[in-house]
């Protein structure tokens, strides 16, 4: 009894995207949704309810995430796109860059709020062509993480199962806020959306976005909706020309 309550307390105080934040966020969504006299309100409230439900599930100091997508491509094509680590930021929207130091090691830089950089060095622990890549962060990284991606052809020829497992550990101290920056929302969501973007890039050559598109005056209402709902965190940058990047 004693031990379990202690560990869950440690969990909630250290987890930056922990239950508390999520519950507050969820409550805000529900409240905002319910007070809005529109259908949007209902959806916001529903989304809030879902967040609250999920919040109860995030309990440990470790986040284990899993995502799987069946993609319309061969294992070779999928492997090739993922193995090109410097291109990872094309679908992992929180990454600023990945620099390959040598064949095994690479330096990852993610961007937090205020353009703060969060860095870690990863080494490849397993690399089986067209089947599996696994990696983990080295000591002295801002984030402790390990992950793997598997490429498995569908036996009925319907494409390739891309399944991804990523774990994030929280070393404690000020770094925790770094992780919070990385996962404004829960890690499971971030990883799942990253893999979805991987599928989009692989199949269609680009990742869809509306960031920087033209629109009418948002007003206070429109801005609140955007912040509360999504646009800030989950939309990738445009990919056509560097000139357009981060322009609007």
């Amino acid at each position: 009894m004693q031990r379990s309550s202690a560990s869950s307390e440690r969990g909630s105080s250290q987890l930056p995207f922990g239950p508390k934040t999520l519950v507050i966020g969820a409550a805000a969504l529900i409240a905002y949704g319910l007070t809005r006299r529109s259908k949007t309100g209902t959806a916001l409230a529903a989304a809030g309810g879902l967040l609250a439900y999920k919040a109860i599930q995030v309990r440990s100091t470790e986040a284990k995430t899993h995502a799987v997508f069946l993609v319309n491509a061969s294992p070779e094509q999928a492997y090739r796109l993922w193995r090109d680590f410097k291109g990872l930021s094309r679908f992992m929207v929180h990454l600023k860059s990945v620099r390959e130091i040598d064949t095994r090691r690479s330096e990852w830089v993610a961007l937090g709020p205020g353009q703060r950089e969060i860095r870690w060095t990863a080494e490849i622990t397993e690399d089986t062509a067209n089947q599996r890549i696994a990696w983990r962060s080295l000591p002295n990284s801002d984030v402790h993480t390990k992950g793997s991606v598997n490429f498995r052809p569908d036996p009925l020829g319907r494409g390739t199962f891309v399944s991804v497992n990523v774990e994030y550990g929280v070393p404690g101290g000020p770094v925790t806020s770094g992780l919070a920056a990385l996962f404004g929302t829960k890690p499971e969501f971030v990883v799942r959306e990253d893999v979805r973007r991987f599928k989009q890039l692989l199949e269609s050559g680009e990742v869809p976005t509306t960031r920087c598109q033209t629109h009418g005056p948002r007003g206070i209402h429109g801005h609140t909706e955007r912040v509360l709902f999504r646009e800030k965190t989950n939309l990738p940058d445009p990919q056509a020309a560097p000139a357009y990047r981060k322009s609007a």
């Binding site: 259908k39 949007t40 209902t42 009418g216």
Partner: protein, 397 residues
């Protein structure tokens, strides 16, 4: 450029906004020559579909000239100067649903798929100007629009055919046609069509094209019923007769072979059940008023088919599922898989089999869009379909 923006429920405004830019490699920019207001836009106007944001640019039925293309567009399919009609569904052309011609179910075109997944399990394709849940793309009631995956959707239109004859290939002609196709029509079948709005007008004509023997069209707006009669349909006014009784009588107790709901979530009606739906919708407990769907299930013959091109947004109540199950009914629906139909239907227009401009009741400059929304919603001024002209100046009053 000028664009029609959604500023809140019943608040459409024309604003000056920045011109759209190429954002992704497969984008194109189209200079719009004609664009329309759709019954689907009315669900946004009335505030019934969630995830609109103040400032969103509306519109999904447009055509014009390609003025810019991104570096990833297949130049054999599209180039600058092409005159095109743009379908309202956005599709990548490469995913599994696209390969299966289920274009409106494209996996990859909705950047906010996760929102739609919360409500629907899986996300349909992105749409132009139709909520953030369905992509959040700026729409085409504007002078220019950005068109993603431009080598997949837009269809080239040869010179010499006026806009009015082809602009409805962007939505309502294919939508009416797919609605009819989903009826599984065999020669001589009787099809009951709820609604005589612009989509239904094409649905009625498509039923006859596909071999229906009888079409019974239902509405209460006189000029719309008349337009249905002009196509050869028998008509029923739901203000004047009990629809179930009338269909019963007309089909000798068999029921129509197929029933089509071309009304959707904002159906009007009478009696206690209508009041109940309306109250729940206002109280935000229910998003849709499924009056027509209920009637269609009850009216449909045993072993018959129900086709639903009318748009529903969320959750409904009191659906007679027992009747649906025990009468062995088939139900088919979906946003239109546009790219399946645009080519063949353009050919029908070119062959002179149909002149789609028959539905147009109003041509207005873009600046008049707010007024257009109002008269279209309230069915004033014998309004059936409005085409907006983005480059025309409003006449000084």
């Amino acid at each position: 450029m000028k664009a029609v923006c959604w500023m809140g429920k019943e608040k459409m405004q024309v604003h000056d906004v920045p011109d759209p830019k190429i954002l992704n490699p497969r984008d194109a920019i189209v200079r719009i020559t004609s664009t329309c207001i759709c019954g689907s836009d009315l669900h946004l106007y009335d505030g019934f579909i969630p995830t609109m944001e103040q400032g969103d640019i509306l519109g999904h039925e447009f055509m014009g000239d390609v003025v810019e293309i991104g570096p990833g567009v297949n130049k054999e399919k599209l180039k600058i100067g092409d005159r095109v009609v743009v379908p309202f569904t956005i599709a990548c052309g490469n995913c599994q649903p696209c390969k299966e011609q289920l274009w409106s179910c494209c996996d990859n075109s909705n950047p906010n798929a996760w929102i739609a997944e919360k409500m629907m399990g899986y996300s349909p394709s992105g749409l132009f100007g139709y909520t953030h849940m369905l992509g959040g793309y700026s729409g085409g009631q504007a002078q220019y629009a950005r068109v993603p995956y431009a080598d997949v959707g837009p269809i080239k239109i040869p010179e010499g055919i006026p806009d009015e004859k082809v602009v409805f290939l962007s939505d309502i002609f294919p939508t009416g046609y797919m609605g009819a196709e989903n009826c599984n029509i065999r020669p001589g079948d009787t099809v009951a069509v709820w609604g005589c709005g612009p989509v239904a007008q094409f649905a009625i004509r498509s039923c006859f094209m596909l071999g229906a023997g009888r079409v019974i069209a239902i509405d209460r707006v006189r000029e719309r019923l008349e337009l249905a009669q002009a196509a050869g349909a028998e008509t029923l006014n739901f203000d004047q007769v009990d629809i179930l009784d009338a269909l019963h009588e007309m089909t000798g107790n068999r029921g129509p072979d197929a029933c089509m709901d071309v009304v959707g979530m904002e159906a009007s009606g009478h009696g206690a059940l209508y009041a109940y739906d309306r109250a729940k919708q206002v109280a935000r407990i229910q998003t849709d008023r499924p009056i027509v769907l209920r009637q269609a299930i009850m009216a449909c013959k045993k072993g018959g088919t129900i086709s639903i091109p009318g748009v529903y947004g969320g959750f409904v109540d009191k659906i007679p599922l027992g009747a649906y199950m025990n009468k062995a009914i088939t139900m088919k629906t979906g946003q239109t898989h546009m790219m399946r139909y645009m080519g063949p239907l353009l050919e029908r227009v070119q062959r002179g089999e149909i002149d789609p401009s028959f539905v147009i009741s109003h041509k207005l400059p873009l600046d008049k869009a707010p007024e257009g929304y109002r008269i279209f919603r309230d069915k004033q001024d014998r309004c059936i379909k409005i085409v907006l002209k983005p480059w025309e100046q409003p006449l000084a009053a």
